[in-house]
Symmetry: C4
Subunit: 293 residues, 4 copies
């Protein structure tokens, strides 16, 4: 039988080098802060179902919870702590209620691209992917009246073309890869791309622990346990002077029993001291300045 053990060296090296990791980019954090905390909220709402081809009434109502209950509660929590964050939107999610992303921007937060309808990139041709990326960005920019500089792939699912297309489209940063905890410059076929990666990870994603699902089985953790993991990630960033990047979802963390994860993380950051809380765009700009340094 033929399998990966029969691949010639050029094949596996080519795969490994397609999207690589360049310089680690840890800037001096503003105001002499010891570390940074970048909070993000993926506002999939109804598109979590729609993008998977799921059109039943129940899952769509569940997605609407994120819109009706989750986002307002998150905005309120962030406002009480004076914290700014980044909200990633599938364009269709923004179109369903354009007032929501406008309120997000008006509150001082960033919005970024998260696909057209939360579709999987690896089901698209390169041309389709390029077209949807531009259309999604233009749609968000028009709705919110701001420049859009950040990209996160739906499902963190990357085609062989995604990262290159994001770089070619002139995005400041991507936030879909996991090769580090701290920001780094993306390499494409071994060459510096100028694109900043603000890495995500399953470890720092609320949905991994809490999003209800039959397959995979979830939730597996209590809100208290998720807070403890996020807290330890922030403590580690504080100890090393790096970045703690967290991913949450309004229809996951936006419940009465779970919003304490965000609330307590912000309290913990305040207690630690020296934690710079900024949008992904702001942090990516600080990192980008390091590329030329």
């Amino acid at each position: 039988m033929t399998g990966p053990q029969d691949w010639p060296e050029a094949q596996w090296r080519g795969l490994v080098d397609r999207v690589g990791t360049g310089r680690r980019l840890v800037p001096d954090w503003p105001g002499g802060a010891r570390c940074a905390l970048a909070l993000s909220f993926d506002c999939d709402h109804e598109t979590f179902a729609l993008g998977a081809g799921e059109t039943a009434v129940g899952p769509l109502a569940w997605g609407a919870f994120g819109r009706r209950v989750g986002v307002p509660r998150i905005l309120d929590t962030l406002a009480r702590h004076g914290a700014r964050a980044t909200f990633f939107y599938p364009a269709v999610s923004a179109l369903i209620d354009p007032e929501e992303p406008r309120r997000v921007v008006a509150a001082g937060h960033e919005i970024g691209v998260h696909g057209w309808i939360h579709e999987r990139n690896d089901t698209l041709t390169e041309d389709e992917e390029r077209t949807l990326l531009a259309r999604s960005r233009d749609t968000l920019a028009e709705i919110a009246g701001t420049e859009i500089v950040g990209h996160r792939a739906a499902h963190w699912d990357l085609s062989p073309h995604t990262v290159r297309l994001v770089a070619e489209a002139g995005f400041l940063y991507d936030s879909s890869l996991m090769a580090d905890e701290d920001p780094y410059e993306v390499l494409l076929e071994g060459r510096a791309s100028g694109l900043v990666e603000l890495p995500v990870d399953w470890v720092r994603d609320d949905a991994v622990y809490l999003l209800f699902s039959r397959q995979p089985t979830r939730p597996t953790h209590t809100p208290e346990q998720v807070f403890e993991v996020f807290r330890a990630e922030l403590d580690g960033a504080h100890a090393t002077g790096g970045l703690c990047q967290i991913v949450m979802h309004p229809f996951v963390v936006g419940y009465r029993s779970r919003i304490a994860i965000l609330e307590r993380l912000l309290q913990h950051a305040a207690r630690l001291g020296g934690v710079h809380i900024g949008t992904h765009a702001e942090i990516a700009r600080l990192c980008q300045a390091r590329i030329g340094a």
Copy 2:
């Protein structure tokens, strides 16, 4: 390849608007209470297996546990706390032992419709669904000698027709959707329906954490952990003045090691103070009065 990213706007808007969320309906709670707690018990018993086409001896005996052990233990616990609740019955489950729903009603609780044999609505034609809904309701009414005003879909599984059929049949409320924590008026194709939704959620369902299953893998939580989640949900309702709606199952929560979830939740409600505990029907009537307000 064609996928959701190719759907025209009318398609995704139509799907999102089929069953929508209208006014939030939070009444003044009786007796000046700060919030409300609505407890429900889905009495699937043997129909949990039967409705899935599972006829083996073992799963049927397991369902019988809910009938033989679970319901009596739950009734006893509720009685000691003077708490009234709602028991949703697939009609066949009520027919297997009609004395059980009669005892439930005699103890001051409400019974509601939960399908004919715990079948999935999305496997039925609209006519079959209409017929089964009426037959289930009539069967329960006849057995228990009471009016039946509440509906919960088995598996919270809704066909495109379910909610409309429930509204057309003149039910007071549905309790199968998740678009909010607090009650709201259901919109059908964007128009007010008069139907009150008392929202459920995976977060507040004992089966999500505790129902034994090979696929999905469960239990994933200890009884103590489930209590902590439910307690936090109630605390949140108390803080915001809203409704805390909980779903339990006699063959899930009815064990010696798990009944403490219910017991402790009732103790916690008493300790909090200002928690109105009522049947779904009573709470839905208070909400319905707000529609005209």
Copy 3:
């Protein structure tokens, strides 16, 4: 589409009545004890893999752990507490090393039938099932030199014939069903069978929480959490005067980090006081005496 909702009443009633629950059988426990604790160990060892048609080296070595490490450690723990228990054996597991069941019996414990090679009963014809049941029982009796009076189906998987065949073969008790926590008389087609059921449950099975498996995903609980569940089950039996029946497996609980579940449960029983710890056979005899009462 035709589904369970179309079944005539005779069909679902027939299924529900095939194996039913008769009188609850709670005897006066010996020595004036308040409740009883029946510990069982399913000694599948290598047959856990073999019976599933799995013949790879790794799973067979893992099964051997139960034999080489698990059983000796369990016997040692029981001996230190002077506790007697029941060990259920697939016949092939006993044949692989006949000295093991002999040592178990010599230490004062009971052995019972657990299939021929841990096969699934629902894959057999009625004749095959009858033949294997007799052959398994005879094999164990010959190896151990004792009468075999107890039966537990492998996987708790029951064909439509299993319980009747067990009754016809003159077994004193079965321990594979879940319709109660306390012992009861099995009904066959609505008629008393004389067979005592000592009910098992997923809630009181170490494998549900701890047996490594890719599908279903396990372990999901820590040993400490499993102990807390078992402890609460025993506390409940103590409060109600009933039976607490527990299922464990040498290749699940027999690890250094897990044997504390058994150790602490025995300590807790001693601390509670009034807990009669006996073999399943002994307890079933007390229950059987109640049938005539």
Copy 4:
């Protein structure tokens, strides 16, 4: 239907005896220590994806995390505690960055074979398996400039030939089987092989609890819970004078929130006292000396 219940005795005995367990080999631990702790790190990195035929950008970046963040952090932690350990490498993983295994060896640790590209042994012919085993070992030896004496099968997946091929190739030890907690001599078709087994187990593998996966669903445990399991395993080895063997992965345990598992285990070992921490090779040599004893 024909199934395992129809297999003749020679068939199931043959399967059980193919790879058996010989003498338990517990040496006198060096320096009068009471027990031993053998830590291992499987450095799959990108080959975890590649060996499964997974070539997408995201999983490869995730594997790179182990290389970029995990291994350096593990080496730092071990160095602060003066602990030596064993790092198992798929050859391709070592080829992607040969400096990494060289740094590992330079720090006093052992490296061992873990397949060519993390391929499954049971997909190979005996000849392919023999060839890949030799090529992997030669590749590692050449890169690191050391003798390679230890073998661990990728996925702990063993063909019917694997253990014999490992013995024939003159390895000192294998570490892929689970028939005991303490080391033992492997039997092949009932005959002593001279090969030492240092048993692994799912119970003592970080990936079982923490490796993100959709199917099987993970993580299921918090880092704190995993530490408690490992601690109890070490306590048990301390109580019995045996070996505690642990498996970790740089892309599982190497996160800021998880490295505490390793850190605290080393602290706990120091606190216990009498814990000899050595490489697998060193411990296997002590065990091998017992074979002749």
